[in-house]
């Protein structure tokens, strides 16, 4: 397969996944502000959301103070924000268009249709629209895109690069989400291991879980009250949780192995190491390092892996 084609496929999948992750986080934030909470907490919530995508600087330069409606508009439909849902869907479609011959016709039509509908849905702003419905729609289109990919495409290189893009982006997102949400919690509200979480923290952590479709998973796995440590364990180490770091990096590693060639040894080694450390990691060790330090380091390595993939496969 052409390196350029692989590059477009990789980014097409990443942008689709990014649009979904943004929609998930916004969805939970919009629901959270429906609960009674202090104005400062609301502001922190919106700021945290921008923080996950490293967009506080961009936002402040353009819009000044945090204003919920403006943040929502900035994250959903601002074409000047490359991470807005609209920008991601456009980028996914442009990448797909560049390689429409390499993907199944139904995959192309799904991505194209998503973009055409997004333009229509978001053309006149969010006024008078139910944001929850839009987020639901974005998630739905992302599910459809992944489903039609696995349901119609030959499992060849094209498929592997799409999957690598999806899971690398998802790993990046989960790590950022967890990092920011641990920070957002006031220090005195942080529960110690095993103790019951105060009520306002319950909403904080159940929001985090819901944004990665993890609330029901948590209940099934632990059948117990919500503690931050278990949330971290679930989202980092749990191999059967579809949005955990362990699951994402296992997928990245498996698909990378399927496209390996003699010059890609170092990237494969790093991917394997990262995968193994997550498969055999323990929460106690992570907590001993400090969650923030651990996640910062992990994000660097995910980034580094992405650069290695680019170097070895996409830019030959």
């Amino acid at each position: 397969m052409l390196s350029r084609t692989a590059d477009h496929l990789f980014w097409m999948a990443r942008y689709t996944e990014r649009a979904e992750n943004t929609a998930r986080m916004l969805d939970v934030q919009v629901q959270t502000v429906l609960l009674p909470q202090a104005a400062e907490d609301t502001r922190l919530g919106w700021a945290g959301l921008l923080g996950i995508s490293e967009l506080i600087g961009d936002y402040t330069r353009q819009h000044g103070a945090i204003d919920p409606e403006r943040v929502l508009d900035f994250m959903v439909r601002d074409p000047a924000n490359p991470s807005s849902i609209l920008s991601c869907l456009r980028a996914a479609r442009e990448n797909a268009r560049a390689v429409r011959g390499a993907i199944a016709t139904e995959v192309w039509e799904t991505v194209n249709q998503t973009w055409l509908e997004a333009q229509r849905l978001l053309a006149d702003g969010l006024h008078g629209q139910d944001p929850a419905q839009i987020f639901e729609w974005v998630k739905h289109r992302s599910h459809l895109s992944r489903g039609v990919t696995s349901g119609t495409m030959l499992q060849d290189e094209a498929y592997h690069f799409l999957r690598i893009g999806t899971f690398l982006e998802r790993a990046d997102n989960t790590a950022r989400l967890l990092d920011v949400k641990f920070h957002a919690l006031p220090a005195d509200g942080r529960a110690t291991s095993g103790s019951k979480v105060p009520e306002n923290d319950f909403y904080h952590w159940s929001g985090v879980l819901r944004s990665v479709s993890g609330f029901e998973v948590y209940r099934k796995v632990y059948r117990d009250v919500i503690t931050p440590e278990r949330v971290a364990a679930l989202l980092i180490l749990r191999p059967d949780m579809p949005r955990s770091l362990a699951a994402c990096l296992r997928e990245v590693d498996a698909h990378l192995r399927a496209v390996a060639h003699p010059q890609s040894g170092e990237t494969l080694r790093r991917s394997g190491l990262l995968n193994a450390q997550l498969q055999y990691g323990r929460l106690d060790d992570i907590m001993a390092t400090g969650l923030h330090a651990y996640l910062t380091h992990l994000l660097e390595r995910i980034n580094d892996l992405g650069a290695g993939i680019s170097r070895d496969f996409l830019a030959l």
Partner: protein, 473 residues
Amino acid sequence: MRFYDEMTAADGSLRPHYLPYDRWLRQQPPDVMQAKREEAELIFRRVGITFAVYGDEAGTERLIPFDLIPRIIPAGEWAHLEAGLKQRVSALNRFIHDVYHQQEILRAGIVPEDMVLGNSQFRAEMMGVNLPHQVYAHIAGIDIVRAENPAGQGEYYVLEDNLRVPSGVSYMLENRRMMMRLFPELFSLYPIAPVAHYPDALLEKLRDCAPPGVNDPTVVVLTPGMYNSAYFEHAFLAQQMGVELVEGQDLFVKDDFVYMRTTQGPQRVDVIYRRIDDDFLDPQVFRADSALGCAGLMRAYRAGNVNLANAIGTGIADDKSLYPYVPKMIEFYLGEKPLLANVPTHLCREPESLAYVLAHLPELVVKEVHGAGGYGMLVGPAASRDQIAAFADKLRANPQHYIAQPTLALSTCPTYVDAGIAPRHIDLRPFVLSGKSVSIVPGGLTRVALTESSLVVNSSQGGGTKDTWVLER
């Protein structure tokens, strides 16, 4: 001016091959047909069958209007067209080979030497280069129009030979797919020859023409990229043939062989179906500022290590100044009488012709010799006095750049317009494929001028398309 109508004869009676369609159409409620039109547009958008118009903002995508009423060609007419097209393309390929080798037709004095050797489309780099099966124009899009001949019958004329990078075949295929989806019942009313095997036939011809000794050739489609007006077609054909769609940046030449950059390292390329003009193919030989091509490609090509479809230098045979000589080429190379007629053509480089053309501009169509796509032409009957005066100045300044033809009474076909159904002018572009042998998929692209009384059918000038049905019996 009288126009030949494809559906209705001069006495108002329906032509027999349109009777079943007419009966069917009368049974369709108007709102159903309107709904079908809207459905077609939605599907074309979703599938992304769009083209870009030059001069518009970069990346603007538009749909080519699709008309629901098919153009129907009876079996007997098609048999005549098919034979005539094969004959014509065979002679044109022989001509190009001759021009770049022995030049017998020039020595015989049949085509003036200076018109070939002094032509900007003549590529001296191609002299003596031997190509597999001596095929130059692997894909030819021959523009056919129909007009009433002096005997009052509809006759097919060849208007233009497109031998460089003819486009439009994807619309032939997609229009058929659309008709089958919208009106499946029509396909049981008529024995319509299928066209969906075109990509297979194309791949076969491309593989036929691989460099000698290559048993399992790697074929690619070379596109200028996604902002080209015909990008959809490039991607579509690559996908339908199951070959890579490459851009110039994906290719490189090493030791006179062409390779593409893949995720598994360099892979040799044997046949390039290129959708880029000669000028942009190799910055070392042609335009140095081209970022679309591949440096060294011409060297590999001349060494016989890669084949290009179409060949470099085919423009010498579809140049409008050489068009009047094609019937003579057919007689010279094949020893046969031409089956398809040319449109009478005045070469403005000849002083008598120029004088005639200048005196009759309001009746004539004047075209640039090297132009394509309906750009830079004058349609006398539709032009204002000022436009005609301005064009006359251009003609006097550079007469050798122009040819003129009588305004053809292009045939009409019923077409959906805002006010209902009305006759609109059409043409036809069948695609002729050459490899070890010459073949044609029974069909073509029918273009329709949607503006009332307009004779310009080019999509870049607001034309639409129709499905083209060739009947099997």
